[in-house]
Every structure is written in C-alpha cells, then in structure tokens.
Amino acid sequence: MTAQFQVTNLNKNFSSPRGDVIALEGVSFVVSQDEFVCIVGPSGCGKSTLLRLIAGLTEPTGGIVNFSGWLSTPRRAMVFQDTGLFAWLNILENVAFGLETQGIAQNERHQRASELIARMGLSDFARHYPYELSGGMRQRVAIARALVTEPDILLMDEPFRTLDAQTRLVLQDELLRLWRERPMMVLFVTHDIEEAILLGNRVLVLSNRPGHILAEIVVPLEQPRNLTGRSHPEIEALRWQIWKMIEPTVQANLKRAPMQ
C-alpha cells in the first residue's frame, strides 16, 4: 500500500460575535505519496483553513485527517502566504530555523541550509536580511526554509500570490524542478486557476461558504512540464471548465459582506 494522506468529512467552524461561520463542510479527498495536488477556489472559500488543518496548526471541528502507510507520522512543512520570514535573522539563519528547533548542531544545519540556498541560487545573499531581498527572492527563501527539513508533505498557501507575473512564472518552473529532483507530496493552494492546472497532477476545486469540494480534475499534461514555452489547448478548455464551476460563487461573493 502506498503512503497516502486522507481527509474524511472534514468540518471547520469559526465562532464570531455575529454567529458561527462554517468554513469547511464535508471535505473528503485522498492524496498519494509524491503527488502534486492543487487546491483552487475563490477567495474566502476556506483553502487556507484546509491547509492549516492539514499542517496541524488548527484543529478540525469534525472529521478525520489521517496518514496511512507511512513508517512514521509524515513531516509536514508549510510555505506561508506572506513568507513569515523572521526580519531579524539573516537568510542562512532563517533557512536553518527548522533544523535549529530540531536540535541540530550549528555546523550541520548551516551546511544543509547553505546547500539549499545554493540550489535556490541565493548563495550571494546568505548573510543578507530579508528586507534586502526582492519579493521573489524572499519567497525562494521561504521555500528553502520548508524544504531544508526534508518534509514528506509540502504545504503551500498561495506562495506566489504577491509576485509579479514574470517572477511567478520563474518560481513555478523552479518549484516543479525541485519537486522532480526530490519528489514529495505537495498540496498547493491558489486562487489562480491557470497556476493550479500548470502545476498540479490533480486539481481540487473548492467552493465557498461552507467550503466543499466541487470537483476533482486530473490534469492531462505530462511531467516534466515546460511552463515557459507553453501552448496547451487542453489548458484553455480546463480553465474554462473550472471557471464555470466557481463563477457563481465569485458572483455571490461580490454581493455580500466579507467574512472579517
């Protein structure tokens, strides 16, 4: 049996002074080892909540998050939306942070962090502070910080959202390369339909509120993918298909007050 990760009938409610908000309702899906799965949905549909539940950063109101077939509990590492780099640590120390908390000695953790920083093409910036780097470089550092812990499951919460289109394309390519070099399970949350199709082997379409899975779509593109020279007619069709699914939600969103 291959190692997998399974959520069954997941529910999550938030209490607020104006009553409870059901963020997720009856979410079930399975992801196998080394699969790259994208979760796409309109803003406010509970995508981030879903990821935080899987990361163990918050507890579900109901339902089960289950890891089966692993030798031990799989290591999960999250890449946060706004990087969450520590402003007061230089790049090397930021990347090594996840190793430091595991009690790994400075020599080893700096060596491992340096290797990953080199793979991300940031060796010249190891001693710089985050504010000295561009947005794209900072997001690379955030990815390196997650990867250095050698996770079994990489959780990514709209990591490229704030980047410009060209930088995003480069980082998407890099991410796929890193994933091919060292396969792992990736759960990638995005509101960008095209990004979801280009990156994922499979796309889960989430609707809001309460967030639930509208469809599971297998992307018919072969890996390795070449994102820069792309011209795939099937992408356009898929994009249209997914958009048709979430359009009513987006329309409804525009007519109601935001959650916060």
């Binding site: 590492a77 999250m78 946060f80 520590f86 007061w88 120390e93 942070f97 908390t101 595991q102 985050p130």
Partner: protein, 256 residues
C-alpha cells in the same frame, strides 16, 4: 565630513552671536548678572570646579546612583515585561497592579520611601529603580505583544520552544521596543536621580545645584547644569548607536 557642505556655518555663527550678546549684556547691566552670569564666568566656574574635583565627585555620585538604580529597576522590569507579554495568565494577574502604579508620579512616593528606607542611599536607589522599572516593563511587554500572528505561527509550525523561542523569536522580535524602553528608563531615571539628590543628598549633581542656589552661586549652578545636560546627551547618543548596531534589520538604521 564634507568640507564643501557649509550648512553648519549659519547656525554656528547665530549661536556664537547670541553668546556674545549675552556676554556683553551681562557685563553692561543689560541683564541681571545674578540670574544670567556671563558665559565666561560660567565657563570659569566649570573649569575651576572640574579642576578641584568638585564636579567630578558629584558626577561620580550621580552616575553610581543612576547606574545602580537602573540595574535594580530596569532588569526586573524587562524580565517581568517579557513574561507578561508571553503569558496571558501572568498578564491577567499583574496588569491591574501595573495599571494602578504606572501612572502614579513616582516622586509622590518619596516620603513613603524615606520612611521605609531611611534618608541614606537606599531610599535614593529605590526611587530611581521604581522610576526605571515601569517604562521598561510596559515597553518589553508591548514589544512581545506586537510580534505578529504569522511569526508566532511560523514558530509554532517549526516547534520552537523554550530557549530557542526566546532567543530567536521573542527577544529579537521585541528588541526595538525594549531598546526604546531602555531609553525612556534612562531618561526618567536621570530626572529622578537629580530631583532626589536635590531634596535628600549632600553629594551628587542635584545636590550641587541645590547648594549653588541656596548660596546664590548661580555660576556653579550653571556649571552643574552643563554636566547634567552633557550626561543626557551622551547617554542618548550611546543608546542611538546601540540601537543601530543591535537592530541591523531595520533599514532606517542602515544608512549610518
């Protein structure tokens, strides 16, 4: 320094001009010499009292009290502030007491402190420590509390605990506010030191000023003021430098 930059010229000449007018007026009866002795007289008094050691000894007393009071007040303030910022339970218990004592002008406690600790050095140190304690506590507590939610989440995600959490997240995350607290504590402690010395001390810069006033030796009073003002300037300058050195990740400090 850029030698071609002449922007310092105008203000320098302006203030030299003011001093010259002051000097001239003092000698020609334009202003009351008793209140505003001529700058040359003040400088002479300053030089004389520095040479005979009076000012140096007074400065020594003031610095010793200031330093000891700061250590005894600011360090507990820092520690309690960090704990209160970190732990909600401690904050809930301690906050009402802090809220009640913090706005109280600490000088109002002087008679009580004198009754409890006597007229000697102890009561002076206690007053200075009290004054330094609260700004340090408030700032380090707010320093921890303003660390943003994402930072805490990242720390939790990577299982940061204990010493690593303190050293890598809590201390550096609150350091800018802690250093601002140190600055506040030093300034208010200096204020209290001089005041308490005026009222209860025979030595120290505050006592020097008070004695000069009582004997109407205003030039001595001004000489002591020069020392106190310099003390304030120098400590603030040192703290600015330390802030720039210890918080290299704040870009506005990178220009120096």
């Amino acid at each position: 320094m850029n030698l071609k930059n002449t922007s310092w010229l105008a203000p320098t000449f302006f203030w030299i001009g003011i001093l010259l007018i002051w000097e001239w007026s003092a000698h020609n009866g334009g202003i009351a010499r008793l209140f505003f002795p001529a700058p040359s007289v003040i400088v002479a008094a300053f030089a004389r009292q520095t040479a005979n050691g009076e000012l140096v000894i007074a400065l020594g007393y003031t610095l010793a009290r200031l330093g000891l009071g700061l250590l005894l007040g600011a360090i507990p303030g820092l520690l309690l502030g960090l704990v209160m910022g970190w732990s909600r339970a401690v904050r809930v218990v301690a906050e009402p007491v802090v809220a009640a004592f913090h706005p109280l002008p600490k000088l109002a406690l002087l008679p009580l402190v004198l009754v409890i600790f006597g007229i000697g050095e102890q009561s002076k140190i206690v007053m200075i420590a009290l004054a330094a304690f609260f700004p340090m506590l408030i700032n380090s507590m707010s320093g921890v509390r303003q660390i943003d939610a994402l930072t805490w989440e990242v720390a939790r995600h990577y299982n940061a605990r204990g010493w690593i959490l303190l050293r890598r997240v809590i201390l550096p995350g609150s350091l800018p506010m802690i250093l601002a607290g140190v600055k506040l504590a030093v300034n208010v402690a200096l204020l209290i030191t001089v005041t308490v010395e005026m009222v209860t001390a025979r030595q120290g810069l505050g006592a020097t000023i008070w004695l000069a006033w009582q004997t109407l030796r205003t030039e001595n009073l001004y000489a002591a003021l020069i020392v106190i003002a310099s003390l304030g300037l120098i400590t603030n300058w040192i703290l600015e430098r330390l802030t720039a050195r210890w918080i290299p990740w704040q870009s506005d400090h990178m220009t120096t």
